[in-house]
């Protein structure tokens, strides 16, 4: 069975033609547009507020970035916020990746009574607008006594219908049924199949899911703003306190958002590597 996965992998990539210059040019253009607001945030964050009103807008950074960042850390407990967000986003990401892969495998490849109905239920839960959920959820959290704690932010996000839906759809195409049958013949239990066949194959999708989940958890602000207080904030709660005020200092705000984005960039790079290396490494282990 391991050999099967391996042959599947070894043929990858070698025989494709290399793309031409035009492709790189297009990609560069897209990358430029994608990166521009982030870069521009850093530029304005390194200048002062009047930078935004200038025509043509300034494209080169100034010398205020460090000063603005220092101000961010003294105005709100931003170090605490960064740690809190890391805890929240990591817990949610690990849980969502694991539980979604489990359920995705079952929905995609196992037969059981009520499967279609349950699957439909998963997809349907995504269709209810969630904004209003904050009132009943707040009542629930208040009853448990989780208001002002990170549990209140983590717990409701431990599972994601999006994740289950995603992994199911991915595995239903990516996981050859023959591979599972071969595994059964080899005497694998269902969990054995999951561990040896599904997990290695699921890696690229799980990495994408992990990356997207981490980003969402990191950038979520609507619910955290309601349950957390600024003494014990996540990054977005801290940002909200910074960007408020009768008089908004955009330069200061953008410096703060730049700092808040750096951890995400690091995470994106880590996961980005996983997506490429995913199948190969997994196959070696299997």
């Amino acid at each position: 069975m391991a050999t099967l996965t391996q042959t599947l992998v070894q043929v990858r990539r070698k025989g494709l033609p290399r793309p031409g210059r035009l492709t790189y040019l297009t990609l560069t253009a897209i990358a430029f547009f994608s990166a521009f607001p982030l870069y521009y945030s850093a530029v304005v964050g390194s200048l002062d507020n009047s930078a935004l009103g200038q025509v043509p807008p300034p494209f080169l950074p100034g010398g205020n970035l460090i000063g603005n960042i220092e101000r961010v850390f003294t105005t709100v407990p931003f170090a605490t916020a960064l740690i809190n967000s890391a805890i929240v986003a990591t817990s949610i990401t690990v849980s969502v990746m694991l539980l979604s892969t489990l359920a995705g495998f079952a929905f995609a490849k196992l037969r059981f009574r009520g499967r279609n109905g349950l699957y439909l239920a998963v997809v349907a839960t995504m269709m209810v607008p969630t904004q209003l959920g904050i009132i009943p959820l707040y009542m629930l959290m208040a009853d448990i006594g989780w208001i002002d704690t990170l549990y209140a932010v983590i717990a409701p996000n431990l599972v994601s219908a999006f994740g289950v839906f995603f992994m199911t759809q991915y595995l239903s195409a990516a996981l050859p049924t023959e591979l599972l049958e071969a595994g059964r013949v080899d005497g694998c239990t269902t969990f054995g199949l999951f561990w040896r066949v599904v997990l290695p194959l699921a890696r690229p999708a799980a990495a994408v899911l992990g990356m997207l989940t981490f980003m969402n958890a990191w950038n979520d602000f609507f619910w955290p703003l309601v349950v957390l207080t600024p003494e014990n904030p996540t990054v977005q709660v801290g940002l909200s306190a910074i960007s408020s005020g009768y008089s908004v200092d955009y330069s200061f705000t953008l410096a703060a958002t730049t700092v808040a984005t750096i951890p995400l960039l690091v995470v994106a790079m880590l996961f980005g590597k996983q997506i490429i290396q995913g199948i190969m490494q997994g196959a070696l282990k299997g």
Binding site: S50, L52, I135, Y138, A142, G145, W146, V237, Y246, S247
Partner: protein
């Protein structure tokens, strides 16, 4: 193997429950003398930090903790915690724009008269005091700051248009709104490129309406938009200014608005005291170009807040004492000096702290004097529960007229329909 997952999940949940039970337990008793923790929730920048320390020195048994958030979130959180009965701070700051909404549920707040507010009533001008009285006569809040209205104008543009630039002379041009529009016509006649007389209708409409005795509501919480001529008059006066071609048609708080302060897209804007800081922030390079004159009609206010004590709190008396101390003239003067939040207590309006205060960015205009005059003699106008939404509907109507989408009559009628929906 398969059996492992559910127990694992349960265990996870249980440990987190257990871990949390420890955290949320009572943390009151620290040391021999038991301290009372008073939580105060504010938004934006009340400038209270150093005052808390001072208060804790004066009252060693009190421990003050502040929560700060952006205005929208702060008020949404109050609504949530009042509705669910949990999570409110001991003192909740409420902005003028929201006070009407929260006054509609007076039972959720302590009546400050019961806690001794009657004795400090004279600190504030009558209108400020009355703004936080509920329909059933309960005093819900103590005033913090106010946002007196004046008219900010560009001296450089006035000069180019051949208008006087001295603030006394300029104030004399527009003792009434008709005078303001008339001045605008003269300004427009000079045909300065890319420059209009005022930014957009929102602030003007609000300023005109604010000068009426009765606004959107009667004191019994009935909406009188349709029957109160003052509302229609404020609408029409603003339309008149738009029709004269004086508006730059810029949405407030947009990027164009921010840039406009710097680049001179508009020559005047009705500005509340807190907007000074905003203009300074947006238009650093325009120092000395802006000046401040009196508002047409003489009085006006936009903004300012109150400290309230929700009934959920366990230490209402102590919370009130802190709120009372924070809003006392001495403390308001300190906040004004450090943050510029304009005080709401009458006593300070004759105090040199205010009367001598000048702002160098605005050509050394005596802003303390100008702004205190606009609020000291203001009349009280009752603010009902949905004043904010009603104003939004009327602002939108003005916007539609300004953009040529509708005639004033159609826009007004549509606003009336929308207002009926709101109620």
């Amino acid at each position: 193997m398969r059996g492992l997952i559910a127990p694992a999940v349960t265990a996870l949940l249980l440990t987190s429950l257990a871990a949390c039970g420890g955290q949320s337990g009572p943390t009151a008793s620290k040391g021999p003398a038991e301290k009372t923790k008073i939580v105060i929730a504010t938004f934006n920048d009340f400038g209270y930090q150093s005052l808390y320390q001072e208060y804790e020195r004066l009252h060693p048994d009190i421990d003050v903790v502040e929560r700060v958030a952006a205005a929208e979130e702060h008020h949404r959180r109050i609504a949530t915690s009042l509705a669910t009965g949990k999570g409110a701070a001991d003192i909740e700051a409420i902005e003028e724009g929201w006070i009407g909404q929260f006054k509609a549920q007076p039972d959720k707040f302590a009546n400050l008269l019961d806690l001794g507010a009657g004795q400090i009533k004279d600190r504030w001008p009558a209108w400020k005091w009355q703004t936080s009285i509920s329909k059933d006569g309960k005093q819900l809040g103590l005033g913090t700051d106010v946002g007196g209205l004046a008219m900010c104008y560009r001296t450089d543009l006035f000069e180019k248009a051949g208008l006087p630039t001295d603030r006394e002379e300029v104030s004399a041009l527009w003792s009434t709104w008709d005078g303001y529009i008339e001045t605008g016509r003269k300004f427009a006649a000079a045909k300065l490129p890319k420059t209009a007389f005022f930014d957009g209708p929102v602030v003007m409409y609000r300023a005109v309406l604010g000068q009426a005795d009765v606004g959107l509501y009667n004191t019994d919480d009935t909406v009188v938009v349709e029957t109160n001529p003052a509302v229609r008059a404020a609408f029409d006066k603003t339309i008149q200014a738009i029709d004269a071609g004086l508006s730059a048609k810029i949405t407030a708080w947009s990027a164009d608005w921010n840039a406009g302060f710097q680049r001179g897209s508009f020559a005047t804007i009705a500005c509340p005291s807190w907007m000074m800081a905003y203009i300074q922030e947006q238009a650093k390079n325009a120092a000395g170009k802006w000046d401040i004159a009196k508002i047409p009609g003489g009085t006006g206010n936009w903004g300012g807040s109150f400290l309230t004590v929700p009934k959920q709190g366990r230490n209402q008396q102590k919370a009130f004492e802190l709120a009372s101390w924070l809003t006392a003239p001495e403390q308001q003067a300190k906040v004004f000096r450090s943050k510029g939040n304009f005080p709401s207590t009458t006593k300070l309006y004759t105090d040199p702290v205010i009367t001598q205060f000048k702002n160098p960015f605005f050509n050394d205009a005596p802003v303390g004097k100008i702004f205190s005059e606009s609020v000291a003699t203001m009349k009280a106008q009752y603010l009902g529960p949905k004043a904010g939404d009603i104003n939004t509907a009327i602002n939108n109507a003005l916007g539609r007229v300004e953009q040529g989408k509708q005639s004033p009559t159609d826009a007004w009628n549509q606003a009336l329909v929308e207002i009926k929906k709101i109620l």
